[in-house]
Structure formats: structure tokens, C-alpha cells
Symmetry: C2
Subunit: 346 residues, 2 copies
């Protein structure tokens, strides 16, 4: 089968390798229906994170083709959506709603999909702890649903978690920093959680349009201190109830922190690169901070339900579709920001 490999920063190739098989009793192997490129894949692509012949991809939907003897909840023929974080689904941490930090999966060496396999930018993928990681869809999806379900696998789930961590709820004003696919997903999440006002910080016309379509009530083009001042002005001087940080750099963090009122919440899901927070500043800000790898599995049932009901259309974040064989072109497009998010057909 074919699989995408990042040989070195900026160098994407397609390899022909053996298809994965069930290795552990809790494994499932799925045949990908579609996969995609993540914003976080750009960190190693740009050389901001070390990489050496790495199989890529952690977003996936597809049909189960083989299961280990201990798998009870999914079976060959089932269509499934999975999370990039592997989770047993049974330990205290999973049951408390944080499957993204399942210690059982971590102890087995499988905290993230791809850690011991070929990733999901491939024709087939092995999913460890299938019962705790995959969610079966109510029916095989129509082709129109494929992009939406694929978005749920990471960007929507991650954005939703960020909106939840930012305290989105009835009557709240939520600011979203980062107009990439995760930030756009956060807008859907914030709206579903009941936020009254959703302020998207973006200068990109197409992304602004999608942000509005997803539920943003306001757009702020200013950045940094000017952006913070604008948000404070829009919120009676208090600041927003919560902010989503979906970038991962120092500027975005400070912008997010500056937008939140005392007692408010900052949810961060951009993988931080070189960001440190002065706790004296945090003490003075008195803002709740929470983030990390999103427990997407926790939100999947609700997201799948909304997608099947036609209430949310998160797949609109895919503005470029390419065959798996042209993955390199997809990486380049996202790197150059000519595409927000690239779907790869398998």
C-alpha cells in the first residue's frame, strides 16, 4: 500500500510498504476513506521540529477491515471515526473525560496514532485500543458526509475542546485567535455550546467568510495590542469571557491572554513552540488556563450526530482536495497558506 513519508523538513514522498495488520488483541485495522494534512504537520515540514523519515497523518475515517480478538465495540464492515489520541476508554483518566492523556495507551507505547505504525496518510492504518479510540457512525456515510466526518477526527474536535476550555456557554463572548481549520472548528464548537457572541480575529477574506458562516458574530482584523484594545472596547472594557488560542506562538498567547477578563478562561490547543508564561503576569491576569492534546474522542458522538443531522458542516474547512499521491503538493499549499486545509483522497 502507499503511505506518505516526511523524509526531512520540506521533503514529502510516497512509499510503497506492507499494509498494517492486527498486532495486539485490542487493535483494529481500517481502510481509509479519506485523510488529510494537519497544521501541526507543518512544524516539522518547516524545520521547527526535528523529523527523519517519519510516516505522517493522524486524522482518519474509514471502514474496519480486521479486528483483534479483544475488540468488542467495532467489527469489520463498520464505518468509524477515530481520534489522533489513542485511549483505552476504561481507566480513570478516560472516564473523567481526558482520553487524550490515557496512561494505559501511553504505557503500551501508543499515545498518538502513528507512534508505532504508519500514520494515517496511507491506504490502511492500524488503530490500537480500537474500542476506546474509534466511534462507529450510525450508517455508512454518503460521499457528501466524508469531509465533515474527517474534520471531526481532529480539527473540529480540537476546536470544540478549545471552545469548551475557553468557557463557551450561554451568554458568553468568546474570542478565537487563529483562523486556521482548528480556529474555524472552535467557532462551530463555541456556537454549539451556546456562546452569544463569537469574535474571530482574522485578516483573510475567505477565512472571515467561513468564520461568519460557522457562527462568528464579529471579525477583528487588528492584531497584538491593537487587537486586544479592540476586543476590550467591544466588551464594555471588561474583556471577553474566554479566548481560544489556536496558533501556538508567544504573540498569539499574549493576544489571547490580553483579550480575557479576570475570572475568564483561555483554552489553548495550538502546539506551543517556544512559549513561556510569566506566572507573575498570570497571577495578575487571574485567568483560567487549560489546554493540551484535545480529548476528541469525548466529543465525537455528539459531533457525528450533528453531522448526520445536517446541523454542522465542518468539512468546509477543506479548500483543496488532492489524491494521496499528490500529498507533497498539499503540504506545499498549506505551508504557503494558499490552502487552509487539504483533504487527501485514498
Amino acid at each position: 500500500m502507499r503511505a506518505v513519508v516526511m523524509e526531512a523538513p520540506g521533503r514529502i514522498v510516497i512509499e510503497d510498504i506492507d499494509a498494517p495488520k492486527v498486532l495486539d488483541p485490542t487493535d483494529a485495522v481500517i481502510e481509509l476513506a479519506a485523510t488529510c494534512i494537519c497544521g501541526s504537520d507543518l512544524w516539522p515540514f518547516r524545520g521547527a521540529q526535528p523529523v527523519d523519515h517519519q510516516y505522517m497523518g493522524h486524522e482518519y475515517i474509514g471502514e474496519v477491515v480486521e479486528t483483534g480478538p479483544a475488540v468488542k465495540k467495532v467489527a469489520p464492515g463498520d464505518f468509524v471515526v477515530g481520534s489522533f489520541c489513542i485511549s483505552c476508554g476504561e481507566c480513570e483518566i478516560c472516564r473523567a473525560g481526558y482520553p487524550s492523556r490515557c496512561p494505559v495507551a501511553a504505557a503500551a507505547g501508543d499515545p498518538f496514532i502513528g507512534a508505532r505504525s504508519n500514520g494515517t496518510q496511507a491506504e490502511f492504518a492500524r488503530v490500537p485500543f480500537a474500542d476506546g479510540t474509534l466511534v462507529k457512525t450510525p450508517a455508512p456515510p454518503s460521499p457528501e458526509l466524508i469531509p465533515h466526518l474527517l474534520a471531526a477526527s481532529d480539527v473540529l474536535g480540537t476546536g470544540w475542546f478549545a471552545a469548551d476550555s475557553a468557557g463557551a456557554g450561554p451568554g458568553t463572548t468568546i474570542v478565537v485567535i487563529g483562523d486556521g481549520a482548528v480556529g474555524l472548528g472552535a467557532i462551530i464548537g463555541a456556537k454549539q455550546l451556546g456562546a452569544e457572541r463569537i469574535i474571530a480575529m482574522s485578516r483573510h477574506p475567505q477565512r472571515q467568510a467561513l468564520a461568519r458562516e460557522f457562527g462568528a458574530t464579529d471579525i477583528v482584523e487588528e492584531r497584538g495590542e491593537a487587537g486586544v484594545a479592540r476586543v476590550r472596547e467591544m466588551t464594555g472594557g471588561y474583556g471577553a469571557h474566554g479566548a481560544v488560542e489556536a496558533v501556538g506562538n508567544e504573540t498569539a498567547f499574549q493576544q489571547a491572554l490580553g483579550c480575557v477578563r479576570p475570572g475568564g478562561h483561555l483554552g489553548f490547543v495550538g502546539v506551543p513552540h517556544g512559549v513561556s508564561l510569566d506566572m507573575g503576569q498570570m497571577f495578575g491576569a487571574e485567568v483560567h488556563i487549560f489546554g493540551g492534546p484535545a480529548p476528541v474522542r469525548e466529543y465525537l458522538p455528539q459531533m457525528i450526530d450533528l453531522i448526520y443531522k445536517g446541523e454542522i458542516f465542518p468539512g468546509k474547512v477543506f479548500d483543496k482536495v488532492l489524491p494521496l499521491a499528490d500529498a507533497a503538493e498539499g503540504y506545499a499549499a498549506m505551508d504557503q497558506r494558499s490552502a487552509t486545509k487539504v483533504l487527501l483522497t485514498v
Copy 2:
């Protein structure tokens, strides 16, 4: 009247100054029944924070002797407990439960008691925004209640807020780092909030005894990595549900963070000095973080009620009592850790 002044690090003197008067319509002037020295007063005392002829003290209880024309909720003759944070009690931030960051008080130049007056290590004190800052007790207190009410003014309230921020609740295990008066107050708070297991990290025999009396179920003497390992071992390898950081230095922060399970909570109330958190580490830890100046006013009604009912005895943190005139001796005792907390009679 007499007032305590820190002239320079390590130099405490008593000055004779004019008693404060009502300046603004929302002011009250109170006659102190007792006051005390805070652990945070030691930062400037030790030269870790600049200080130049500063009036000291921010913990206070006493009788109202004068009120401005706009004060409606307290009147001369009332016995009151106040918070060190001044709050209007009416803005969105106060109503949301964060009076410690009231923007109305801050705009008027009065975020903390003492900012525009002589502090509360004195015979009289001016309290701005009296209606939003002071809480009237149900009756004039008996002498036995004085230390307990005084503790509520800061250390108990701050500890309670920290326990709340650490997610203390039924079924939870909470670790308390810092065995000073605030840490001990956090144990009372955690117990009242329903924590099932309270682990106090302390090597000090008298403080360990008081920690147990206040509700600690376990004592851990190990520090740093060994302390973290011990807590993890005691919590099935997961870590505690929450930790209170009541010290304010890097070591204590890292110890607190290491003790908390993914998805858990870290409440910090030690004023951070030179602490910065790497957000990459935080992303991996996936722990909620919240702290700052405690919104003590929010917890005062409940704390006062429990004190009058004889259910909590937070005043036991005072292990030295001195007259105001001997404040210098009190500072020295706390600096040398021969006293946990010093009450000053007025």
C-alpha cells in the same frame, strides 16, 4: 494613632500619624480589633520586592466608626470582616465572583487595601467601597472568635479559593504544597468543599499536627521529585485530582504540577516570584491552572457563618500574639520561621 511602617527591607518601625477619615462617599473607617502579618509581607522584608517607607497590613477586622454618605450596607457600630482586595460589588467582574479584580476599584486607585491609605497594621483604617468590600458579622464577636475572623480576612479565604481552584470536591484527592497559614487554610477549604483525601506536604512537626487537625488525611515529607513520586504512588499512579500551590517559587510550582493528574487542577495563590511556565510542558501536562489574588469577599459570608457556628477554627494558625508596638519582633519571628503567623493586638 500608631501605624506600622516598613522603612526598608528588614526595617520595621511604628509611626504616630493622623487617623484616617472618610475621603470618598463610599468609604468606611474602621477601628481595628486585631490585625496580623502576612507571609507576603516577607517578600519586601527580605528584599525580594522593592520597598520604601511603606505602610503595612491588609488583614483586618473591627468596628465601623464612620461611613461616607453613599454607604448603605454597614454603619457605625457594626463589626466587620473585610478583604484585602477592594471591590465595588456591583460590576460584572464582582458579580461573576472575582471581586479581587474589580475594575471599578482599580480605576479609582484602590485595588488593594492600603494602596491609598495607611494599611491595616494600625489602629484605624480607611476602607474604600465599603459596601462591596466589608461583610458584617451576625453579632459582635466574643474574644475567642477574634483570631478566627481575622484569619478569614486573608489566609483562610485565600486558602479556600486555592482549594476551590484546585477542584476540591466530593471524592477528590487534593495535595497542598506550602504549610504556612495559607496552605493550612487551604486544608480547611478543601475539607469544607468535600475532598475525600487531603495530602499535606510538610516537614514541620507543629504544622503537620495542625494540618491533621484541620482535615489533612495524609502527610508527605518528601519534596521535589521524591514528593511527586510519593503522591503518584498514593494515587494509583494517576496523580491527585488537584493541587494547591501556596508558596510562589519555581520548585513549589513544579512540585504542584507534577502531583496533578491529566485533566486535574492546579490552584496557585503564592505570589509568584521569578516563576515561568513552559507552555510546551503545560500542553503535555493537560492540567487546568488558575490563581491570583483571592476573591476572599466571595467566600466571607460562608466562612463567617462556619466560624460563628464553631465548625472551623482557622485562627489556630496564629502561634504568636504581640501588641502592635512589637510588630518588628513579629516580622522577625515569621522571617525566621519560628512563628507561622503573628497576630497583632491593637
